[in-house]
């Protein structure tokens, strides 16, 4: 028990730091460790992953709110699409073949990894657009944040709101139906489609993924998928890790965050496409 507790604390610390920096849930780190290293049933891995998402989200949001990095209006606006998607996904389970979805979302992630690579290659991050977006103005979504790496206030504008909403709806379906992609799709919608800068995208994703996960977490809690001996050390490790990660992230250059992101999105995408063909990696 001592070994598994220490392992979970350490995994949590690492997953929390990475999750807070990137705005993703960390299920892809946690699931293989629980199923392979601890030899537990996949059901407990899913339960632990859900708790991990919430812990990362709540742990990092404290710092992101305090330092005003995230965009609360964008979060709440998009959350409508994600939560509806999550419920639709939960209802669709068993009706729609998951392989099709795995393939579709896997391809999307690979495409978004390619987009990130292009943005990295093009050098400078573009923050301001020539034409202001009608929707963004109507819903008051444009904002600014203080970049601790560049040491200056950065104003940004948001565009392509319908595109962002569609991806968020899809992300909701994916997480409700397959229990995947809690954060990766959200960052993709904001960074790729809506042209938000990477740091507010990641911070806003952190806030949102906890809200989306909370809806399904109660189900896992009451059906016994959440083992206290696993989930508690994991959650405690993550809370500490996320607090550290949310501070590191603000000092990192966006380029570095993007460089960490590209292989992770590629890996996640390939993992899903393989799964569509029945291969688990």
């Amino acid at each position: 028990m001592i070994t598994s507790t220490l392992l979970m604390l350490a995994v949590g610390l690492f997953a929390g730091i990475m999750g807070a920096i990137l705005g993703i849930g960390g299920g892809m780190i946690i699931t293989p460790i629980i199923t392979l290293a601890l030899g537990l049933d996949i059901k407990y891995a899913i339960g632990a992953s859900i708790i991990a998402v919430i812990a990362t989200s709540s742990g990092s949001t404290i710092a992101f709110l305090k330092d005003d990095v995230l965009n609360l209006r964008v979060a709440m606006f998009l959350e409508i699409a994600t939560t509806i998607g999550a419920i639709v996904g939960a209802v669709l389970t068993g009706i729609f073949h998951p392989a099709i979805l795995y393939f579709l979302f896997g391809s999307l992630l690979i495409f978004s990894s390619w987009n990130m690579y292009r943005k990295l290659r093009s050098g400078k991050e573009i923050l301001k657009r020539a034409k202001p977006d009608k929707w963004a103005q109507k819903f008051n979504l444009n904002s600014s944040y203080f970049d601790k790496n560049l040491n200056k206030q950065i104003d940004y504008q948001v565009e392509n709101i319908p595109g962002g909403l569609s991806i968020m709806f899809g992300a909701g379906i994916a997480s409700g139906m397959l229990g995947i992609g809690s954060g990766a799709f959200k960052v993709m919608a904001m960074d790729n489609a809506m042209k938000m800068p990477l740091k507010p995208s990641s911070a806003t994703s952190n806030l949102m993924m906890g809200v989306t996960a909370a809806a399904s977490a109660s189900v896992y809690f009451f059906n016994g998928s959440i083992k206290p001996g696993i989930a508690v050390p994991l959650a405690l490790g993550i809370l500490v890790g996320a607090a550290i990660g949310s501070r590191i992230m603000q000092h990192l250059p966006s380029r570095v965050i993007r460089m960490i992101f590209i292989p992770i999105l590629l890996y996640l995408g390939l993992q899903m496409i393989f799964k569509a063909f029945g291969v688990t990696i």
């Binding site: 708790i51 989200s57 806030l207 909370a214 508690v232």
Partner: protein, 121 residues
């Protein structure tokens, strides 16, 4: 974005941040208490690998100082923190007289509750 909206946003975010911190600290403390009890008692308080999964079982376990009951209660409180965030956001937007976002956030809360209810059936 104009100055007024920006300042208003900061007040809203600081308020939510403060309440979030209290919520997370409470959840973490209950988990830590349960964990320390587990280490001290060298027993989960439940037979074999079982653990309590209903709120009444957890409450009963808390009154009889069972480590796993405290740990599960801490996890449950942690699950509630994002819900708390949405609730506080509604209040914060209301205080800032942002009617549009009071509605948007209320819709999110209703959908979330719908999901909770759907999940239990």
């Amino acid at each position: 974005m104009d100055k007024k909206t920006k300042n208003e946003m900061e007040t809203v975010e600081i308020l939510i941040g403060k309440i979030m911190r209290i919520g997370v600290l409470i959840a973490a403390s209950v988990m830590v208490i349960g964990f320390i009890m587990l280490v001290c008692q060298q027993s989960s308080g439940y037979p074999g690998t079982t653990f309590p999964t209903t709120l009444s079982e957890i409450l009963k376990g808390i009154t009889t100082f069972k480590p796993y009951a405290y740990m599960m209660a801490g996890i449950f409180l942690l699950i509630l923190t994002p819900v708390l965030r949405v609730l506080v956001s509604i209040y914060a937007f209301y205080k800032e007289k942002d009617v549009l976002y009071v509605w948007i956030t209320t819709i999110v809360f209703i959908i979330l509750m719908f999901g909770f209810i759907l999940g239990h059936h």
